[in-house]
């Protein structure tokens, strides 16, 4: 594999855009990325589009990438859809990385898009893909994380206050970021006393329903030099399905541990080298578990990690400086690439909520539930490590 760089990124505002559709959202993000990279569209040789729910919600299972790119006048190249739960966008990025890294192509487009507003069952939790037997028995993503939380509290003494601190921190980070769905500050008290969704998870412990798109243009390091003096290198991109473990521990995700381990190993970078992390904070308890699974702190100490400000802007590893899924919102297929956009801006030193002197960024998306009644792991986890290529 040769070194691959990101030379352009772009995204839409994230929020509720009931009048929009996935093609318009994708077009805006892609156009922003093309302008940011300063490339000619004819130089893009391959594209991957990540989207997880366009089939179920908008009757567009395939061809989303082709339709978006057609609007930009990009055609006659290999384009495919990448569906991989909440990691769809991250997986599109990884496919693009492999395509350029292998030497087959010099320039690739990675696109992520989703439109979740206007669905049937508005105001109720979005059910998960697959997992039919669990769903008929009342399962949904907040149910899984509610179960994680009850056990984490029992085993490690994690508190509702510590959970709320994740939401408060991510909302504070979102303040200066115009692309976030929610920017107004919130308090620990407000998080704890917001309506209960799945006891013990309250509304402000859950990420919102969001529309949006994000995109990145990748090329070989050699080609990158023609366009920018600040190429962002992809130091590693690891993808892992859930390991099958009998009676697994619900307070830790094997797919995440393996993806992080593989990424650390490939990049030769460890948690101690990371300047900032954008993790999959779909629920506050998820962010706490991620601290532990990624080695930011010891197992069971995730609650204390946030309480002591270690994941804050001035802490050991600022986590979700963009506002995270909790505040930016979570248009499923777009999230992984939104994390890439925000991290590229951090490494360039131009982010609204800038981590001073950031050189290495860690991004993580994960989702999907094992299609069985036995307690299973997350189906897909993607970890990408970016570093300054200058």
């Amino acid at each position: 594999m040769r070194t691959v760089c990101i030379i352009g990124v772009g995204m839409t505002m994230f929020g509720r855009f009931p009048q929009s559709n996935v093609i318009e959202l994708g077009r805006t993000a892609c156009l922003n990325a093309v302008r940011d990279a300063g490339v000619a569209t004819k130089d893009i040789q391959v594209a991957y589009a990540g989207h997880a729910r366009t089939g179920q919600l908008h009757n567009r299972e395939c061809g989303v990438g082709q339709s978006i790119l057609w609007e930009l006048g990009i055609s006659g190249i290999p384009v495919s859809s990448v569906g991989n739960f909440c990691s769809s966008g991250s997986t599109a990025l990884r496919e693009a990385w492999l395509a350029v890294g292998s030497g087959m192509y010099d320039m690739a487009f990675a696109i992520g898009v989703e439109k979740l507003t206007g669905r049937e069952g508005k105001g109720r939790p979005l059910t998960s893909d697959g997992v039919e037997l669990l769903t008929v028995m009342g399962f949904s993503p907040p149910v899984y994380f509610g179960n994680v939380l009850t056990r984490h509290m029992k085993e490690y003494g994690t508190t509702m206050e510590q959970l709320a601190m994740v939401a408060v921190k991510n909302r504070r980070n979102a303040g200066p970021n115009p692309r976030c769905q929610y920017k107004d500050p919130i308090t620990v008290e407000e998080v704890i006393h917001s309506p209960v969704i799945v006891d013990p998870l309250t509304l402000l412990n859950c990420c919102p329903t969001t529309d949006g798109a994000a995109a990145a243009i990748l090329c070989s390091k050699e080609v990158a030099g023609r366009y920018t003096n600040k190429p962002v290198e992809i130091a590693a991109s690891a993808l892992c399905s859930g390991p099958y473990e009998k009676c697994k521990d619900i307070t830790s995700f094997g797919a995440d541990r393996l993806a992080a381990l593989n990424a650390y190993e490939y990049a030769g970078i460890g948690p101690e080298d990371i300047d900032l992390a954008e993790v999959h904070d779909c629920f506050t308890i998820a962010e706490i578990v991620h601290y532990e699974d990624f080695g930011f702190c010891k197992k069971g100490e995730g609650g204390r990690f946030v309480e002591e400000g270690m994941s804050g802007m001035e802490g050991k590893i600022p986590v979700s400086p963009s506002g995270g899924l909790m505040s930016r919102g979570h248009p499923i297929g777009a999230t992984g690439l939104a994390q890439i956009c925000e991290s590229v801006w951090q490494l360039r030193g131009v982010a609204e909520n800038q981590v001073r002197g950031a050189k290495v960024a860690f991004t993580h998306c994960a989702g999907g539930f094992q299609d069985t009644i036995e307690l299973g792991d997350i189906q897909s986890s993607a970890v990408t490590i970016l570093k300054r290529g200058w």
Binding site: E120, G121, G123, R124, P125, T127, E132, L133, L134, T135, V136, M137, G138, F139, S140, P142, V143, G146, N147, V148, L149, T150, R151, K154, P195, V196, I197, V198, D199, P200, L201, Y244, K246, C247, K248, I250, T372, I373, E374, L375
Partner: protein
């Protein structure tokens, strides 16, 4: 009660069970019996699975799995109480994961949704009862665990 009557009663009971869950449950045939979940056991490696599988993923053989009734008693591993229900469900309801002695940790609706009466590691017992309603308001049954009688 004649055999015919009990047979039709069992049929009514079975008809109430969600069709997707029917292959997973063996209803009690008489008042002295208890309902059971049906899983698979691999004759070759001894591992249990729920729900049933066709292929043992350890042995990669299709003819080694046999249907077995699983223990109807277990321990509550974790739980939560749903207050914002998906379509078809009435809140509040509780769901959790139950550890069975066969080395299985399985998802299950819980018959008790009072937080004060649910405790991690408590003993629980299998029942068959209403889990949700269909679009016309008819009850749909499935398996559940309830706190074990002392």
């Amino acid at each position: 009660m004649t055999a015919d009557n009990s047979g039709s009663k069992a049929k009514v009971q079975e008809d109430l069970v969600d069709p997707k869950l029917r292959p997973l449950i063996r209803l009690a045939g008489s008042p002295s019996e208890k309902p059971r979940l049906i899983g698979s056991k691999c004759k070759s490696c001894g591992e249990y699975f729920f729900p049933k599988r066709v292929l043992c993923p350890n042995c990669l053989k299709e003819d080694v799995l046999e249907d077995v009734p699983l223990s109807n008693e277990g321990k509550l591993y974790t739980y939560c109480i749903v207050k914002a229900a998906p379509l078809g469900f009435d809140a509040p309801y509780a769901v959790g994961y139950v550890d069975l002695p066969e080395g299985l940790r399985i998802f299950s609706p819980l018959a008790e949704c009072d937080k004060e009466r649910l405790k991690i590691d408590m003993d629980v017992e299998l029942i068959v009862d209403k889990i949700r309603e269909d679009k016309t308001g008819q009850p749909i049954h499935g398996y559940k665990f309830k706190p074990a009688s002392p």
